[in-house]
């Protein structure tokens, strides 16, 4: 065991590392500057349990109804050996609909190494015929560790190129879908594109065979009829690659973490809280939707202007601390040289606000 791996094991505690999935990897791109998150995720810490232990449980429940509906829609789209899916995808890509395509279900078997091998063999086998691969098991290196991804997705090989096909149950009404859901799906699909490209590259094939255009299959309007849309994920790929590279240099991040730091959920809550506060976090309101530890970090960042959102902090001249903002605005504190401009703005704002409220 390397020094780093040992260090990460200490941080994680006496449990196997928590498995990543596309959703957690996608979430990593949300707040790339947060050391706390990078270290905890790099170590594979059980963050939901950790959050509960320190008294700030995460709320990422999923409704049974949503799961049922998602599964039903997926089953419908994949029915008949994917005939409907093939037609939708081919038409959307503007290629002739093949008369037939092979359907390979790579899911099922419990044995991970075997499944991985089967996925690798199936996806890198020579041949350009139209083919659909369901439930491929993919791998990606995250913070020096091999992470297995078991996507509910189909890789479609059409006209010699691979396209990632994601089936989502949020509706597209009159050609428009909820932008937040689309961007979430896009970044998840980008994780799969990256993993698929790595797989091909390992086998000496051209990674560019995997298209950066992913196909999103959603219900149309208020029906159960599927509709396919193309999403270009080049930007998401860039973001993802940058963040994964950063996590690969986890040693650099660990150098900033005090020795003896642990996030082992079985440790004493007071120790955990004290330990966490020694690892720098960068809380932003966006974390609430993406990170299990967000409520803890929010509590900690309460007195910071950034906790009310980046626009608030910027409008306050970048001054980070609320007490400092108020002291500068009241003229009770001499500004640092680089704060001079911000202080003048804050003083003017305070004067105008007081004047308008005094009427």
């Amino acid at each position: 065991m390397t020094n780093t791996a040992q260090r990460l094991a200490e941080i994680r505690g006496d449990v196997p590392p928590k498995r990543h999935n596309a959703r957690t990897i996608a979430a990593l791109t949300g707040n790339p500057g947060c050391t706390r998150r990078a270290v905890l995720d790099g170590a594979g810490v059980d963050k939901p349990r950790l959050a509960e232990r320190v008294g700030f449980p995460a709320r990422f429940g999923q409704s049974r109804f949503a799961i049922t509906r998602g599964n039903a829609f997926e089953a419908r789209v994949k029915a008949d050996g994917g005939a409907e899916l093939l037609r939708l995808v081919a038409e959307r890509l503007g290629v002739p609909v093949p008369a037939a395509a092979s359907w390979t279900d790579l899911g099922g078997a419990e044995d991970l190494p075997d499944r991985h091998e089967r996925s690798r063999a199936a996806l890198t086998a020579p041949g350009d015929d139209a083919a659909l691969f369901d439930h491929p098991l993919l791998g990606l290196a995250v913070a020096g560790q091999r992470v297995h991804l078991e996507p509910d997705l189909v890789a479609a090989r059409l006209a010699g190129r691979f396209h990632v096909v994601e089936i989502k149950s949020f509706p597209v009404v009159d050609g428009q879908a909820d932008p937040a859901k689309v961007s979430g799906a896009a970044i998840q699909a980008a994780v799969y594109v990256l993993a698929l490209r790595e797989l091909l590259a390992e086998q000496g094939r051209d990674p560019e065979l995997v298209s950066h255009e992913v196909v999103l299959v959603c219900p149309r309007d208020f029906t159960n009829q599927p509709v396919a849309s193309l999403v270009d994920v080049r930007r998401q790929l860039l973001v993802l690659r940058r963040q994964l590279d950063r996590m690969d240099r986890i040693e650099d991040l660990l150098a900033r973490v005090p020795a003896g730091f642990t996030a082992d959920p079985t440790a004493d809550p007071a120790t955990l809280t004290a330990g966490l506060s020694t690892v720098e976090a960068r809380y932003a309101p966006e974390c609430l939707a993406a990170c299990e530890l967000a409520y803890f970090c929010r509590q900690e960042a309460r007195e910071r202007t950034g906790a009310m959102g980046r626009p608030v902090r910027e409008a306050l001249g970048g001054v980070a601390d609320v007490a400092q903002v108020l002291a500068l605005a009241a003229g009770e504190r001499a500004p640092e040289p680089e704060q001079a401009e911000a202080a003048a703005l804050l003083r003017a704002a305070a004067r105008l606000r007081a004047e308008a409220l005094a009427r």
Partner: protein, 493 residues
């Protein structure tokens, strides 16, 4: 985010309670608004689950869909909602008022008041928009017939959702947005979307700070979400068994009635807290005096309501799924004009909003030090009254000579900057006035600022913005897709 508003947020955090960012109310509040709290079924494409609706705090009608995946029941819900909403809309169609048009040479009629819908949050507006979209094209005959009220309500909901896009309209308001327009909390904009947390900041219960009240409001077991999305935990533990029990009751009337009553009970439990909060929000907004230009904007809502009611009466079709090129350009133009005028009117109505513009260098407050109210400019063909005044301000003046300024107290008057003299710590500005002084060569008393008066001068102008010219749809240029096909776009659903 303006610095002034951000500072208010910092102050709110330090004080533990939300801080005002407006001194007057900028939205119209109806004496009899229709409050609507909708819930949607998780996972489904905007399938209604339940709603509380009514025009008074003690008059809430609960609507429930016992099996939200059943399409017939969805439209039965819409028909039931129509039983509440359509009579409410009709109640505003009794009395009309005459409005002079064409400079008083003609009159037109509009209803003296208009309906107002209130929902908890922007997601509630989206829900109504999509409920309108899914209903307005339904047919009352053919394969899947619906009650005639369904497509009618669909059009009206679409009308309200479109009004909600128009800045300054109060026809359909999201309570969180209306409150956040007047108060700044110590939390982020994302967290302000949660009505219970927002009200926790604005009006915390005794003994709690805003932050504590907001934190408590985030626990779905204490405070259910304000919809339309439900709490997943509630779905899994409470709602799913209740729906299963209803489905399992089958034809057994007694069991079905019991299961229905149970569904009503649990859904009411999720909706009632939000219902209470909605009326608390109404009360808080009503506590602020209305801005001077609020009534004028509400007249716009009355016009829109009258116009759409007439459109429906005359057998007009439902709103298209998508605007054509000309209609889209017109709509964008209308929204941009409304946004500009709304921003100016809020600043004119409210010194606290004007302060944001002062901070941004778009306005300054100055004292009149010299005034020549009788000055006449006779260099042109006809002599004209052009009084000059000199004002002094300690605020930074960022406007150049030649710029035209306005003052909220005399909106019809323009003040041209003749020259600026910066002195130490202050600026002297000489202004030449025109307009708002009658037609003669002597200014009526009060129409020219007097020495000693404090004036707010701004580059913002509330003057009439002329509408742009657009071609008829049949003359859509080829750059914009050419004329649309003449065949009606039939909904394939």
């Amino acid at each position: 985010m303006s610095t002034l508003r951000a500072l208010a947020k910092a102050q709110a955090l330090a004080a533990g309670v939300a801080q005002p960012v407006a001194t007057v109310r900028h939205v119209h509040l109806s004496a009899r608004p229709l409050v609507l709290v909708p819930l949607a079924m998780a996972g489904e494409a905007h399938a209604p689950l339940a709603a509380l609706v009514g025009t008074a705090p003690d008059d809430a009608r609960l609507l429930v869909v016992p099996q939200p995946r059943n399409r017939d029941q969805r439209f039965a819900f819409v028909a039931e909602l129509a039983e509440v909403v359509l009579p409410y809309l009709d109640s505003f169609r009794g009395v009309s008022e005459a409005v002079p048009t064409d400079r008083g040479r003609d009159v037109r009629y509009r209803h003296v008041d208009a309906p107002q819908l209130l929902v908890p949050n922007p997601a509630g507006v989206t829900f109504l928009r999509l409920l309108g979209r899914s209903s307005r094209f339904r047919h009352v005959d053919g394969d899947y017939p619906v009650h005639p009220a369904v497509p009618l309500l669909g059009r009206w909901l679409t009308f309200f959702a479109e009004r909600a896009e128009q800045p300054g309209s109060s026809a359909l308001l999201a309570m969180t947005e209306a409150l956040a327009l007047h108060w700044a909390t110590g939390q982020s904009a994302v967290e302000d979307l949660h009505l219970p947390a927002l009200l926790g900041w604005i009006d915390p219960p005794p003994g709690l700070t805003g932050a504590q009240a907001a934190a408590r409001a985030e626990d779905p077991t204490v405070c259910p979400p304000a919809g339309p999305a439900t709490d997943p935990d509630f779905d899994n533990r409470v709602l799913a068994p209740a729906i299963d029990a209803y489905a399992g009751a089958g034809d057994d009337e007694v069991a079905r009635a019991a299961a229905y009553a149970e569904l009503e009970r649990v859904l009411r439990g999720q909706l009632a807290p939000t219902w209470e909060l909605m009326w608390r929000g109404v009360g808080l907004l009503a506590g602020l005096p209305a801005g001077a230009r609020v009534a004028g904007r509400w007249d716009g809502d009355k016009d829109a309501f009258t116009g759409y009611a007439e459109h429906v009466d005359s057998g007009g079709g439902p709103q298209p799924r998508r605007d054509g090129a000309v209609a889209a350009a017109r709509r964008l133009h209308r929204l941009e004009r409304a946004a500009t005028s709304y921003a100016v009117q809020r600043a004119y109505d409210d010194p606290l909003v004007m302060a944001e513009h002062r901070l941004a260098g778009e306005a300054f407050v100055a004292e009149v030090t010299l005034a020549d109210p009788g000055r006449v400019d006779d260099s042109g063909k006809r002599p004209v009254l052009r009084p000059r005044i000199q004002v002094v301000t300690t605020e930074p003046v960022l406007v150049p000579a030649g710029a035209t300024l306005c003052s909220p107290v005399r909106p019809a008057q323009k003040a041209k900057v003749v020259f600026l003299t910066p002195a130490e710590g202050k600026t002297e500005v000489v202004l030449e006035l025109s307009g708002g002084m009658g037609r003669g060569l002597t200014a009526p008393p009060g129409s020219v600022p007097e020495v000693g008066e404090r004036l707010c001068l701004t580059t913002l102008s509330d003057a009439f913005l002329p509408a742009g010219a657009f071609p008829e749809p049949e003359e859509t240029p080829w750059t914009h897709g050419g004329p649309p096909p003449t065949i009606e776009d039939v909904d394939p659903e």
